[in-house]
């Protein structure tokens, strides 16, 4: 028998476990402040039994990394008939694999950085030095090296000299089997969060990100004070509108639902480039999504609560 309890899933085994736990606590508190009964729990081998024997009215998955964003968990929730907030398994898969989501969005006319993605085997077979030289020539320096999956900038390096490439590659492969080499775009980094309440897909005000360090890495993301945020971003309205249009288009084209975050860069010419889409935006004290919600004059708990209602309705449709 289903009750009104909402189950926030946080933790997991990904390198972003700590971030996920903090996101979970924050969202749980925000929901409780809105009168919602909430339980927070980790994902382990007792979860499915618990979902069967004591099903919540809705799950809010706040898991980052593979378990939370590759669609597998959501497939399981669908199989169990449990309502959940967020994109479907297919949507997650479309967004989580950065090379394929990038290609798909490019086909839809969205500007994305030029990039290549290769597994370790390709470098081994073709010779790493020759492959890296070829891509360094085509993409230019500096370039961004990152795992093809995963968030929080884990394993990401900005390579400014070719001699740094081997170390950057090893660092990125530590987080996954396939690595992307991506054109580096100099400009203003912004994030546009999207809320999709089933009636309207809307973009929240863009958050401009100004890290003290060379790029928005793990330390800059989760150390309060080390990044300065401007909401709304200090950009022309036409550019902001374009960023929001791109975020909504990407959300829609990838088949995402409920909520997502678009990470973008606006280069010096005003061109808006989409870096990636995130289906499980962080909700920590220093995360972008809560800032955008607040800047829109809304309450995080109320927003998530409304998405819980959307998910419940969807499950019962």
């Amino acid at each position: 028998m289903t009750n009104s309890r909402v189950l926030v899933l946080a933790g997991g085994l990904s390198p972003e476990r700590d971030v996920s736990i903090r996101s979970g606590r924050r969202v749980a508190e925000a929901l409780r402040d809105n009168g919602v009964e909430v339980e927070v729990r980790d994902v382990d081998d007792s979860l499915l039994t618990s979902l069967r024997t004591d099903p919540p009215s809705c799950v809010v998955p706040l898991l980052h990394g593979a378990a939370g964003e590759d669609g597998a968990l959501r497939d399981v929730l669908d199989a169990l008939g449990v309502a959940y907030v967020g994109s479907s398994a297919d949507g997650c898969r479309a967004a989580f694999d950065k090379p394929s989501s990038s290609a798909r969005l490019r086909d839809k006319g969205i500007t994305v950085p030029r990039s290549v993605a290769l597994p370790h085997a390709a470098f081994r077979e073709l010779g790493a030095a020759a492959v890296l030289e070829a891509f360094t020539r085509s993409l230019g320096l500096p370039l961004v090296v990152k795992p093809s999956k995963g968030g929080s900038a884990l394993g990401v390096s900005v390579v400014r000299d070719a001699s740094e490439l081997p170390t950057a590659m090893v660092g990125a492969f530590a987080y996954g089997d396939t690595v992307m080499l991506e054109e580096y775009i100099d400009g203003t980094e912004i994030a546009v969060c999207v809320i999709d309440d089933g009636i309207e897909v809307s973009a929240l005000p863009a958050v401009e990100i100004c890290p003290d360090g060379p790029f928005y890495d793990y330390q800059s993301r989760y150390t309060a004070g080390s990044t300065e945020f401007f909401v709304p971003a200090r950009l022309d309205d036409t550019i902001l509108a374009e960023a929001q249009r791109i975020a909504i288009t990407a959300h829609t084209e990838l088949g995402l639902r409920d909520l997502s975050r678009a990470d973008l860069i606006v280069d010096v010419s005003g061109r808006v480039v989409l870096l990636e889409m995130c289906v499980a935006p962080g909700m920590t004290e220093t995360s972008l999504f809560p800032q955008a919600v607040s800047a829109a004059g809304r309450d995080l708990g109320a927003v998530v609560s409304s998405l819980v209602d959307v998910a419940r309705t969807r499950a019962h449709a």
């Binding site: 470098f123 090893v170 809307s202 863009a206 100004c210 330390q219 150390t223 990044t227 200090r234």
Partner: protein, 451 residues
């Protein structure tokens, strides 16, 4: 779609999400979130074999007897146990430390020379607080205990690493390091050493080595800070019969501050340790302790005191020693069987840790995410150096997992290392270098369970 009405000229200051960011002390600037620390959050999951943590296996204690003892303590002496106590520590416990606990390491001290602290970590903190101004030089082993490096860093000391060999701190290297510091116009304030069953190196100074190290300290008039949390936990070599290495403090009461702990011999959760110091130093440590915490927990101190008085604590230590010997064997045997060529490791005669040297070119810090994904954890060597060196090392602890889990952990780790070697073969080996990416994040704020 939500529109924006921002005026590019209107907003000049953003939000840093921390109102006090401009108020922090300079020393707080490096207290940051870290990618490497985040991985240890995963290591706490039961699926992961953690060869990282330094947690004693407290499950080996007699829980029922312990519970009864604590119940009777509260019943009989609750009004004392639950009250404030002396800043120097409970006098009965100090007597027990002086007369019983330190006897095996050869220390004969008066109870008045003992200062009880909240774990020996606090004693370490107090000593550095009392002796070191910002910029003062502290000489430490290479590698050294991550928690000590954190304290030295917190007090803004200039930490100078001194080479070790198979017998621990090398006195010749120590002499040379002192000469270099003096030549630069400075005087080292402290020599910090862990002579017995070193954390993380797993080596032990023999009697002559201790004597030589002490001679160097005495010659230059530098206070020796002897950290000895594992001294009673020898189980092999000269210590196979249960004898403990003789403390350096046993041979110089005035030149050595000795740090002891019940964390490994009873239970780390009690947080009871102590310092034995010359009287002048002791007075300052007590005043510093009162300023920091008023007094150490009376409840914990009386629990320890009652345990020592009523429980077979020497028998319990024998149980711990045997348990850790068995686990050390499981680790060393598995390493010998499973690890690829080009690696070596120390074989500790006691304590909790083995120090492992990786094949050339491997970076233990860069490899950690791959290890955690394979459900095994270790502490990268960089955590035990202040300067980001140590990439080629890792610390493996065997104190907590059962032997079978240790073997499974080493099996997983061997696979990770093979994979990393494969990557290096593809992308080329670079000489072991200083890690430039957040190299000091573990030193700055070591997760508790890594101590």
């Amino acid at each position: 779609m939500t529109g924006s009405t921002s005026d590019p000229t209107a907003v000049t200051q953003g939000d840093r999400l921390d109102h006090w960011v401009s108020s922090y002390a300079t020393r707080a600037r490096s207290m940051t979130a870290s990618e490497i620390r985040s991985l240890f959050a995963v290591a706490s999951r039961p699926e992961v074999v953690s060869l990282a943590g330094g947690m004693p296996f407290v499950q080996a204690l007699q829980a029922d007897a312990f519970a009864d003892m604590v119940a009777s303590l509260i019943r009989d002496r609750g009004a004392v146990a639950l009250q404030y106590g002396s800043g120097q520590g409970d006098v009965r416990l100090r007597e027990q430390i002086a007369s019983e606990i330190m006897a095996p390491v050869g220390i004969a001290a008066h109870p008045d020379d003992v200062v009880v602290t909240t774990g020996s970590q606090m004693a370490l903190d107090l000593v550095v607080r009392v002796f070191c101004d910002p910029g003062d030089v502290v000489l430490v082993e290479a590698p050294s205990y991550v928690g000590a490096l954190g304290v030295f860093r917190a007090y803004e000391c200039d930490v100078v690493h001194v080479a070790m060999d198979d017998e621990g701190l090398n006195p010749v290297a120590l002499e040379e390091a002192i000469a270099r510091v003096i030549a630069s116009g400075r005087r080292p304030k402290l020599i910090y050493t862990i002579p017995s069953f070193h954390n993380p190196a797993g080596v032990t100074q023999g009697p002559k080595r201790r004597s030589d190290v002490l001679s160097v300290a005495q010659k230059h008039g530098i206070l020796l800070l002897e950290d000895d949390p594992y001294g009673l936990l020898g189980f092999d070599g000269p210590y196979v019969d249960g004898s403990a290495p003789r403390a350096i403090r046993a041979d110089d009461a005035d030149g050595v501050v000795y740090l002891g702990s019940f964390s490994k011999t009873i239970a780390s959760g009690l947080r009871v340790g102590w310092a034995v110091a010359p009287h002048g130093v002791r007075e300052k440590l007590v005043l510093a302790a009162e300023s920091a915490v008023l007094c150490p927990s009376n409840f914990s101190q009386l629990t320890v005191s009652q345990y020592l008085a009523t429980q077979p604590w020497t028998e319990q230590i024998k149980i711990f020693r045997e348990l850790y010997r068995e686990r050390r064997d499981a680790l060393i045997d598995s390493l010998a069987t499973l690890m690829p060529e080009g690696m070596h490791w120390t074989v500790p005669q006691g304590g909790f840790y083995s120090w492992v040297t990786l094949p050339e070119g491997l970076d233990s810090r860069a490899m950690l995410p791959r290890a955690v994904a394979a459900l095994v954890a270790y502490v990268p060597g960089t955590g035990f150096f202040v300067d980001g060196s140590g990439t080629e090392y890792m610390r493996l602890s065997y104190c907590y997992p059962e032997p079978e889990r240790i073997r499974e952990g080493v099996r997983r780790l061997a696979g990770v290392i093979e994979g990393e070697l494969d990557l290096l073969n593809t992308f080329g080996r670079t000489p072991n270098a200083i890690s430039t990416k957040g190299s000091n994040d573990l030193v700055q704020t070591p997760p508790t369970n890594l101590a």
